[in-house]
Symmetry: C2
Subunit: 116 residues, 2 copies
């Protein structure tokens, strides 16, 4: 990891977001949350529905929250978790493609039709 890159902070952030999604267990938990919709679920209910509980669930939720993929807020003595919004996933996906063909010698138009 020894290369200089002006947009390096973005790469770092995008990579850790993808990494957050890159665990089968976290992906499962996140999808349970997405299925639950905008009202969200408590940690307890999320654990019950996903089969991932206790400190393990806390650990995974922390990673998902740090990536901005879930929100957590306290309500009394429970924590309500709410899943990603669509726009965020769009942004993440776009990140990969946004400089597409910038270094290509041939005219852009030729390829651009493939991903309008």
């Amino acid at each position: 990891m020894k290369h200089e890159n002006t947009a390096s902070l973005d790469v770092t952030r995008a990579a850790s977001t993808f990494a957050a999604l890159g665990s089968e267990q976290r992906l499962h938990v996140l999808r349970v949350l997405v299925r639950a919709g905008p009202e969200g679920l408590t940690i307890g209910e999320l654990g019950a529905r996903s089969g991932v509980t206790g400190s393990t669930l806390t650990h995974h939720m922390k990673i998902l929250a740090a990536a901005g993929l879930v929100d957590q807020k306290r309500r009394g003595r429970q924590i309500i978790c709410i899943g990603v919004d669509f726009a965020r996933m769009q942004d993440i996906a776009a990140f990969l493609l946004k400089e597409c063909c910038a270094d290509s010698p041939q005219p852009h138009d030729t390829h651009e039709a493939n991903h309008g």
Copy 2:
């Protein structure tokens, strides 16, 4: 990792695709490839442009290829690598949201406007 899930194979595949994108170094390499456009780059040139070379690059490319994010084909004694296409990223992003709100008690329409 002890929960049964009918769609478990899909989750596994999606998770490993995200995991493939979840390394700063791999993400950097992949973006260099995306910048290069549809003609692709040889491993050597990709290494020169990205700063990741040798067995380390081979290792990362294997992971990206297994995830279907790059294609590799031999041409003489070099290997040409070509980056992701847009449709694949769209699919990956969609995976997360496709069952959105399925378990939500309230009517779908209320939330659906947020992510047409």
